[in-house]
Symmetry: C2
DNA sequence: TGCGCTAAAATCGTATACAAAGTCGTGAAC
DNA sequence: GTTCACGACTTTGTATACGATTTTAGCGCA
């Protein structure tokens, strides 16, 4: 989300955008756990900026529901409730299957290559034991599909939902096997490559249902830990 | 100065939220036109707050794509492009029909009453010639349906899309008749009242398509507010 | 007259300062 | 020993200050 999207290597980003993105990635990769407090002074110290820009970054993340702002009490990494978790996947099931269908109908060979690179990086991260990074890349795969469909508005929503899903997974994941992801993505990319919209839609719907059912949506919270460690 | 406490009803909200909401409504009601500049000093003067809180409000609106922030140049009421307009309605057509279906299956008599009140107020505003307010209420109708469906996550997305639609209508509306709205909403509420999910889904889909086709999406962003912009 | 350059004014981006609200620990009363 | 209350400390909310960037106006020159 954050930056308008086209400038990834740019250094021109405003301070708050940089901080927000860094924090967002840290959350995606589960280096920041749900419920952890994000003190303005502490975060500002870490990034070498004043509370002003930290506040802007935290507000941005709060808008994406990655952090929760409590009035006069500060910012905390969000802890999505069970109901919110179901809502997020309900929203994804409304948006992503039909977006995947559109993507299948428009995908170019270059698009497929980019997706394949995502998958390869994801596999590599998984193999290297960096499950956090693998999860982050897995999410980007979903957003990339929306981009291929040439639907930036929907892509933004999906990006937000993917971020929140990462938080949900941190809280409610029950299986230790993260393999299902890879296979589902492999099948999806094949359907996209052969412009099989119906199959892509079906595969995406099934993939999301699989993700949802792999969660244990009866339990409750987890544990916070130190801040500086996670952000180094 | 800075009367910290002139309380108009709910003073629970933080200053920035109050300013953001006020500005958002002004945009919904077309009292602020696309492209209009929102100077931080000027807005702060109007609401009696410092630039700090104005900036927070503008950032919030920027996240909802109601205003566009240009680095070192300030905030402007957004001017959605033709492509963005199509994307917004594409996203709505993904989210709203099936949400209407869910709402139909869950709607209680109280829900129907609330919706009816919305419609009545909308009709009243229309009859009073306050088309801006009618548009605003018409939008709230759509959001309320998502609330009835008990999908707050989707409801937030719809709220944002409805806001952006208001901006799009301001730019691309071609018909002078705003009547279609009312009839469509009347039919929808009837389907909801008799728990006819399929009909509600169909009606909503058709309603959105109607809205989209009532726009003139061939022209470029409409009338520039100032001459300089036109010659920019 | 028209164009380009420079300086002044306005506006934004960020840091700092101060006030209000919240948190936590200590101690006295029961 | 437990509970409640009060005060010092911490953290947030907002205002103000200052440097950076952009815009605009004025002036000189072709």
């Amino acid at each position: 989300m954050q930056g308008q999207g086209h400038d990834l290597g740019e250094q021109r980003e405003s301070g708050s955008a940089r901080v927000a993105q860094s924090l967002a990635i840290a959350i995606h990769e589960h280096r920041l756990s749900p419920g952890m407090k994000l003190s303005e002074d502490e975060v500002g110290e870490i990034y070498g900026v004043s509370r002003t820009v930290v506040r802007a970054a935290l507000q941005e993340l709060a808008h994406d529901r990655l952090v929760e702002l409590k009035r006069n009490r500060g910012a905390f990494v969000a802890q999505p409730s069970v109901k919110e978790a179901r809502e997020v996947f309900e929203a994804r099931s409304l948006l992503e299957p039909r977006t995947a269908k559109s993507a299948a109908e428009r995908a170019t060979p270059e698009d497929i290559k980019i997706l394949q690179k995502h998958i390869d990086a994801e596999h590599a991260a998984l193999h290297a034991g960096d499950t956090g990074r693998a999860l982050h890349l897995s999410g980007k795969f979903h957003v990339e599909i929306a981009r291929i469909a040439d639907q930036f508005t929907v892509a933004e929503f999906i990006a937000q939902l993917v971020s929140r899903s990462s938080l949900i997974i941190a809280l409610y994941w029950q299986r230790r096997t993260a393999l299902c992801e890879s296979h589902a993505h492999d099948a999806l990319i094949k359907a996209l490559a052969r412009h099989d919209g119906a199959a892509a839609e079906e595969l995406m719907q099934h993939h999301l249902l699989d993700l949802l059912t792999s969660l244990d949506l009866r339990d409750q919270p987890s544990v916070p830990k130190s801040l500086k460690e996670a952000l180094n």
